[in-house]
Symmetry: C3
Subunit: 461 residues, 3 copies
């Protein structure tokens, strides 16, 4: 039908008449913004409203009619009214029969109603063809034309042809339709615009908590202790020195926390002897936010790298270097090259660089467009092989750098361990258990379990 | 039909015969390249041409027939001829009735004709099913097999089945079809390959202009002034010192220019009391290239970071450092640590690092694959909250770094202000006005206006 | 049918009953994992099996029936059995007539069978509607719910409606279906999960080979030679100094190797006088892995940048700097600024920074989501214009840095040239030949050939 229509129209002399009329029920903000945009894109727009006197609110070139009259003029009707007014549509059921109704409504809360608004509309008007669309677009963005953000419009509906008609309108407005399947997907689509980084919340709070803890730990040991016992004012350490101690520690701990749930999962599966039972909820949730944990760890690691690289530009460091050189010059002696020091310094720098390099590689492969272009086998290779290698390199970097502190009494100010030691606990534990898990006598049964083998098949029933 | 066909064929013993024959009208470069590729992909190809003697031009395994004979052999006909020859197809209208005609033509200029080539073809042959495709692929890329670039082929057409048939061929050639809707999209698809970064032109020229201006400003003040009045030859400043002054200044100004149009828009809306009137054209265009301005600002900021980090490796800096230390050593004294200097140096470094970190984060979220995965609310949070935070941090970084120059007379060589001062004008203005706009007494009416409220509803009519 | 069904169901009071029943043949690992996931998503699942006694293996809420009984209960049957057991389905042909059969099988080797498993299934049961899907998803990922990797499910099949039904299930499981066209695509889809970075193998082995060669070359000249003839133990050079010599050399050679095949292609085309003959196989393969070569070159260049930036933090470098300053101080003299040195040092740093900047820009544009958003003309501009500029800048960076070594006899330890010289051979050759190719007298015929002109048209037959 749609096809024939447009073929006939293509022959007609007037090209401005090519788009079919669209009806909009409701003259609220979104209805008006959408109408404006459609008129700009060449669609004749007719508004349906209870009162036909409020024409000042609708766009200039649009028509304003009663609901029934407006609905008769168009094959597609956009329902720009709120869910609790939907039942006023029931008397119009006959006119709306066979028409495409586009539900664009959003809720104020996640899962506010038992069924989605679009499914509710389809239940009220079983003869109409309901399509969910446009709810992920902001009225303000439509109005101002500044669609910098996602141009994706999620579309779902049970009628394929109706969906095609709506997707054509979406494309004509310069947006990208994305078919999300049948109307069952409407609930998810309605929840989508209400989210604010749901997967990121726990990782961000965890990392902020760790940052705060280690910041005050360092503040106490490096600034306050030094001020009290050595009478030196190193308060400017707050700007760079302390952040550059906290960042690597938090990055290393978060990176280890990415691999810890995998270790727990393996142990639970070995203990249970089956993979067909669900993990505890906390473990499930933890596993689902591993990517976010890893990316935040990468952010902290990047900050650590830049904080470290600016070291030579700091006034304090220049002063310390000068002081060292001048005291040697004044004492008329030149210290020989300490080969061990040169080895340690170069080693931890090289280990850190390689670890960070792998870490960035992991970050790049977790970009959606890159991870969509690798298959499961490649993804596993990168995320688990290269990921563990990055963890090993970063742990070794910390061990070589902080190794000398373990035996030094000056590292235990106020009987508290240096934060390098704290940072190494989880990474070392993860690496040790992982090392045990790759022994053949442990790895073989685990692989069998993951391929579907069960120790006590009855349990799974 | 297509389905039955292939099912029957699947039972046939010869698997090489599975693809349906494709006809190509025209033996020009693109027709030949496409034919080559189709034969490689297993399609029998038949060429339609006025003269059947020029068989040397077509691929080896293809057949060459007259137009009418060739068209009868295939359900899909690729029209690889130029638009001004399309009318020779009119006599063939009967044979082409019901066939799928693929328009692959491109124009030489944007919007060269009132209607797109594909729509023109559909008007000439109303009985055929016209599909626009393949025009975004280069003949050279098809021929050499080096499709490193986009493998996307935009497809549009009014007949869904015809579109499916063409999209199957596109997939068989190793390309990715992208459905752009009805034939009305053909104009846009035909304009697409003619563009060369249209959104980037203004931002790039603006930034090049700013760069040139500040480069010569610095050259005058830092090299020429020093040479004339201090008799020192610092010409090598051209390589690193001056670029490292120009880059941060341009980056900061461009970043402020990203947020300036939003400020203007708010003021205009407050003044007009409605959001339902279009912004002036210059503001619309400015708002549409904010992303590009921001990314260029990020590029300049990145250059500034690397130029700064290589500082200790410069021969001039090593020499200056040595000179300072040696003069202290020869005078037999050690300067004590200047705590204020240490604070200022660490502060501006830390502010710069954090500002740059947020800036990179903004850059990552503007990658298409990332911005497609965030909803409108998340995008607004990142781009406006974090964006302003980045602007504040970068402005503070510049203020702390350049603050001491404001009162120093040496900063006003030739009575001209230092470029730090020039760079701070726009960012500070933006931040001050934004600060005013978030006061409740200003923010509340603005929010109402953006939600559709109008001060003088009559004006909107 | 599907549509009517769901409309009727939408009116029914129980919403939990909305999804249609899915049948799974086979109780192996993947069959069970998929069944679990479908039950979680609200699908009633019925298993078909030879023995109906092994109910302990299937998910708790699933039904277990004989193959024939199970098949009658559902419109969609997932064939979770291995290809060599497919012929047991032949007796069921009548029951399976018109049903949607989903082939989820994978092979153990690339192209193990002459035809794909899905096509084989379609040949065995010509009355059924076969759809290939789910083979790219891992059973382990489905089971554990940790679908961090690609959520894409490739779907292909000759029946559009059947494909839609399967794609709706895919979406309901939280995965993203990707239509790959007709069943002819099944072979490719079955090969996909078996690949492990196929395009990356040659570039990675090449770069590892080059790295190993240059590492031992440097080790011999910088550590062993110094130890033997100068009695100095510089073994710690292994950690940073030598990697930082090898990385830029490998990066520059790989970058030149990205542009070398284009040069060869131009010469071959000029010699042959036509573009309509295939390149030799080695050149074709080389051209196809240019992107990978370039990205590995970028990785080495990035390592070089970070290795260089940590220089001032190395114990060896601090010691060397101190020694130089102290010896000046003890000799009571201050060396004046060497203007030539300042110029050279600033120049090669600036050239390197700009070259690396362009290199990173090239890397960003090769991200799939970015390159999908540029057209062919823009891609060519970036990859060939900016790419050559990056190569010129990086070659100039190396020339300015290593220039002084060419005439110094100390650069020829053991009569071997310094690696800077080795690294410059290929880049300089590429740039010189490219410079010849852009002369009008060479460029004009080449452009004509690339536009389809042939010197000896007979040859192309």
């Amino acid at each position: 039908m749609n096809k024939n229509c447009s073929n006939i129209m293509a022959l007609a002399p007037s090209t401005s008449n090519k788009r079919e009329t669209v009806c909009i029920f409701g003259t609220g903000d979104f209805g008006r913004a959408l109408g404006h945009k459609m008129i700009q894109s060449g669609y004749p727009v007719v508004y349906g409203s209870r009162s036909t006197q409020i024409s000042s609110l609708i766009p200039k070139d649009a028509e304003l009619l009663s609901h029934a009259e407006a609905a008769q003029k168009a094959a597609i009707i956009i329902i720009a009214i709120q869910r609790h007014h939907y039942n006023f549509l029931i008397p119009l059921a006959e006119i709306l029969h066979g028409k495409v109704l586009v539900d664009i409504s959003n809720n104020l809360k996640l899962n506010q109603y038992p069924e989605s608004n679009a499914e509710y509309l389809a239940q009220l008007l079983p003869g109409s063809r309901v399509v969910k669309a446009f709810n992920t677009v902001s009225a303000w963005a439509l109005q101002s034309g500044t669609l910098d953000a996602s141009r994706q419009v999620f579309v779902c509906g049970d009628d394929v042809e109706a969906k095609q008609m709506v997707m054509n309108i979406v494309r004509a407005l310069g947006l990208t339709p994305l078919d999300k399947g049948s109307l069952l997907a409407a609930q998810e689509i309605e929840n989508y615009p209400l989210q604010l980084f749901p997967m990121w919340k726990f990782p961000i709070f965890l990392s902020l908590g760790l940052t705060a803890f280690f910041f005050f730990y360092c503040l106490a040991l490096d600034v306050i202790y030094t001020y009290i016992y050595e009478k030196k004012n190193f308060s400017f350490f707050i700007a760079i020195t302390i952040p550059n101690r906290v960042c690597p520690v938090v990055a290393l701990i978060l990176l280890a926390l990415v691999y810890l749930p995998g270790i727990f999962a393996a142990i639970i599966q070995l203990y249970r002897g089956t993979k067909y039972r669900r993990f505890p909820d906390w473990l499930d949730k933890w596993m689902l936010c591993r990517k976010q944990l890893g990316l935040i760890a990468l952010a902290f690691a990047s900050l650590h790298v830049v904080f470290t690289l600016v070291t030579p530009m700091r006034a304090f460091v220049s002063w310390r270097t000068s002081k060292g050189i001048i005291s040697q010059a004044l004492n008329n002696k030149t210290e020989p090259l300490n080969n061990t020091n040169a080895w340690i310094s170069d080693c931890y720098l090289a280990l850190g660089i390689l670890g960070f390099f792998l870490f960035v590689l992991l970050g790049i492969t977790s970009l959606p467009s890159v991870s969509n272009n690798v298959n499961w086998r490649e993804f596993r290779f990168v995320q688990s092989k290269l990921g563990y290698l990055a963890l090993i390199l970063c742990t070794a970097h910390t061990l070589v750098y902080g190794g000398k502190w373990f035996l030094s009494p000056s590292a235990y100010k106020w009987y508290l361990p240096n934060i390098y030691m704290l940072s190494l606990v989880i990474p070392c534990a993860v690496l040790v258990v992982k090392f045990v898990l790759i022994f053949p006598c442990v790895d073989k049964p685990l692989t069998q379990i993951r391929q579907g083998w069960e120790r006590n098949p009855k349990h799974s029933k």
